[in-house]
Symmetry: C2
Subunit: 244 residues, 2 copies
């Protein structure tokens, strides 16, 4: 995909003058990265901001006793590195490709200048950060209150297309976007617990599955089960913006 079209897909770049979009394009670089390779480490100074064209990027940290905290897993039209623009200038996590991926990189200096010289871009950035914060608030809430099967259910619900949200249209089969161990980690549980959580969902809600494909026969029953320990009914506000 060419660069202007790609930027057009990312809310951060909506509604900007052609002139500044051109400027971004001029300084942007495509970057291919192979599965398993690392883009940055927590203490690296963030020289680049990234937009994902295709693939999956895992953002994570490792602890002193050797565990891993997966903070986010970003895919097409997602971005990362924007939180290192002002204030602390390190990334704060490792970024690792969990699939072969295509990224666009833009030097953070270009973004910094744009923020200082184009109100619209600054506003877009603040909007994006506000939305991200709402997502994180939701995540903290879920960690506080949901059990493992509910977190898995919530994760599945977020994979459903908007078209199925009213519950009238049937939900197409869901395919897990990456391997189960990674999903488990992202949800703060072990692969074993994840496996058993799926079984619990099969028992308690109307879903069926074979290998990595899950059929949600009744999205409402899944939502009733999963959102019970959450402050929002499905579809939650957090999801509403960003799909289909």
């Amino acid at each position: 995909m060419n660069i202007p079209d790609l930027l057009q897909q990312v809310p951060l770049f909506h509604g900007l003058d052609d002139q500044i979009i051109d400027h971004f394009c001029h300084h942007a670089n495509h970057r291919q990265i192979k599965k398993g390779s690392m883009l940055c480490a927590p203490d690296d100074v963030a020289h680049n901001f990234y937009i994902i064209e295709s693939g999956w990027i895992k953002l994570f940290r490792d602890t002193q006793d050797g565990q891993e905290a997966v903070l986010d897993i970003v895919t097409t039209y997602g971005m990362f590195g924007e939180s290192s623009l002002f204030g602390k200038d390190t990334y704060g996590w490792y970024a690792e490709a969990v699939e072969d991926s295509n990224l666009l990189s833009i030097p953070v200096n270009i973004l910094k200048d744009a923020i200082q010289n184009h109100q619209m871009f600054a506003v877009n950035m603040i909007t994006a950060m506000s939305e991200h914060r709402r997502r994180l608030d939701g995540e903290i809430e879920r960690f506080m209150l949901q059990n493992a099967p509910q977190r898995v259910g919530c994760f599945l619900l977020k994979l459903t297309p908007k078209s199925a949200w009213d519950g009238d249209n049937p939900c197409p089969p869901i395919t897990l976007p990456y391997n189960k161990a990674l999903v488990a980690n992202r949800l703060g549980m072990t692969p074993e617990t994840f496996s058993r959580a799926l079984k619990a969902l099969k028992k308690n809600t109307k879903i069926t599955m074979s290998k990595s494909t899950i059929e949600i026969e009744d999205i409402n029953s899944l939502a009733a089960y999963s959102c019970e320990a959450c402050s929002n009914f499905f579809p939650c506000a957090e999801d509403t913006d960003k799909r289909d």
Copy 2:
């Protein structure tokens, strides 16, 4: 405290022209609020942004099955409401005074205008949001990986003054800022677990306590115990900016 002096204490307002500070002051209002009373609900449209002059404000949500998720507890020179400026315009949580508190309120429209017309303010806002995001990332990591005593230890460490951080100077007695049940909730555990976690800390690190006062005899032993399951040693980056 008069309004300009208060704003001076909040990083969001650092380095701004007198003119715009005056403008903020002109539109700001003091507000007293009594313990137990509610400032806003999750679905309220955020007309005001708040800065805390004194007291403690609990930001929380309640779930369908009647539990509470305490997302933050804010005190002097802290602020809230800034994440509702652009994008979704509701607060997203209840704000309740857990002590008699004094706040300063500023209409969000004033802030919106300022962001659009003063780059410096926009940059400050982005900086503040970046820092908040780092804090939330840390919080998620801790929920994923730390057990209850470690989370409590981490909470205690954050209450220590900078002067004690090198471990040479003795640490003054720490007083819990609000009741234990609330601390427990904030850390995602029950009051019972919190109580037992403190006992575990007493057993495993060099701390002693009586009622709500805690003596940290050796800050390093507490840090070694608490930060083991964390990606950062104490003092963590998250804390470095914001005290003493």
